[in-house]
Subunit: 313 residues, 2 copies
Amino acid sequence: MRLLVDAELEALIESEVENGAGQVAELCGTVLLAGGKRLRPLLILLAHEIAGGSSDDDIIPLALAFELIHTATLVHDDINDEASQRRGVDTIHTRVGIPKAVIAGDWLFVQGFGLGGIYEEHIVRIMAQCCANIAVSEFDQLDHVLNLATSPEDYLGIVRGKTAGPFSAGCHAAGLVAGLSDEQASALQRFGMELGIAFQLVDDLLDLRGDERMGKPRGADVIEGKMTLPLIHALTLSHGEERLRLAHIIENFHDGLFDELMSLLNYSQSLQYADILVRTHLERALNELDSFPDSDAKSLMLHITDYVMNRHL
Amino acid sequence: MRLLVDAELEALIESEVENGAGQVAELCGTVLLAGGKRLRPLLILLAHEIAGGSSDDDIIPLALAFELIHTATLVHDDINDEASQRRGVDTIHTRVGIPKAVIAGDWLFVQGFGLGGIYEEHIVRIMAQCCANIAVSEFDQLDHVLNLATSPEDYLGIVRGKTAGPFSAGCHAAGLVAGLSDEQASALQRFGMELGIAFQLVDDLLDLRGDERMGKPRGADVIEGKMTLPLIHALTLSHGEERLRLAHIIENFHDGLFDELMSLLNYSQSLQYADILVRTHLERALNELDSFPDSDAKSLMLHITDYVMNRHL
């Protein structure tokens, strides 16, 4: 199924190159086709299937649209984060400069919306609302960089918009395309949201524990000033000298401070706290699938939730 | 009619601010609502009307979508051009930095596609193809910065994609929404393309002759290394010492060289050449309207073509 997504994306880039999009399509192709877990399109295809959707052809454009839009946000995020690598290859702005990278991201957005636009109005509305929420949450995240007063609620608001929202919107829309009622499709919407929150929490943990996140050094989030849940939790629990030291480390982080940061996080059991939240959100995600009959697609969705939980073990 | 567009855009921003898009919507509103000629949405409304469209309600979302997408490209272009002012106000990146400006542009794109997504597949396809062409042409334009071998054909290719394409796609789509046949709608498509080319040529001339382009110094295009038609024409016609001097001036342009540049352009009659092309393309645009019956809307469209021709006089 992942191979199907890869093949479709490859065909799209090839046909765009042929249609005269040349350099911009090729450049976007290098990032789009460099790998990536394809979690979003896979979940969309599976959600469509467990919802009783009959033909993959009905849902493939939507699955690709979400992957294209996801990649567009990565290209623009990488500019903003000054990241040098993505999916194991050099980022676009590193190779061709910021102006072309901004436009390349726009091109990916446009391809995504072009594909999504074949669906009915309510599906397009879900996509557009999801993308608008990503932008709003990214603003919010920038405003919280190195803001040590960031609360768990602030954090969850950002995660819901930026990471979990696309999982949620994709599964929701897939259910509707398959013909589910609003109520049944809402279960898939909640499934996507809970899974997405767990996914982000695991990502936070991977930044600290070791990493399958291609091309990123450990502590990359801390270097960028991102207030991840383990840091927020530790700051909330620490007092006096310890909190001052923790704040100093976060504000002036470099790899030489990594071990000291980890010992402070261990002291407040902040990684364990995040672990527990991962499990909570994954359990809630699984509960939402209860009402769907057993099937190969459902087994695969359970498999993906397992993967989200275990990719840092 | 322009007031209608302004009011609709204002209502959209207000409702987005209320719906929680807060800072990003407000920031985008400052540029979106700072004025602007609204040429694209006006042409779309008028094209719909001369094509026999009955209700403005059918076409307003499309008109707004094109204005939102146009503004999105301006926000991203201004980052890439390091422009400090747009529509008489400070550019977004000047006020809040590049990261937020990238995201603000994305938000505007998304709003545009959200509105456009209510139309049928073939309309969305026209929009998406138009936006993809903008990106391709912007790449092309960046590759031609200070490229003194840029040909008139290179130039026209870029203009067709970046400036004229949206005029063309908007008028084309408006005709189809109004129920025209493909053949009739193609006349509007060609009208938009010819008008758009004329519009860009006039813009090139305004850069050199004096300017209603808010907040831009004279010769701004030359400073940015943009190869506009008058420069391309002059480089083509000049020889020997004169061409070397012209090339030197273009490559090292600053306002102190303005008078010398103008005298070289006058010598090769390059502004006059561009003037003639403006008239040619406007005449072709007008010819495309011949098949539509006389009406108030048609008079207004003729008025807009006049405006395009005369805004530099």
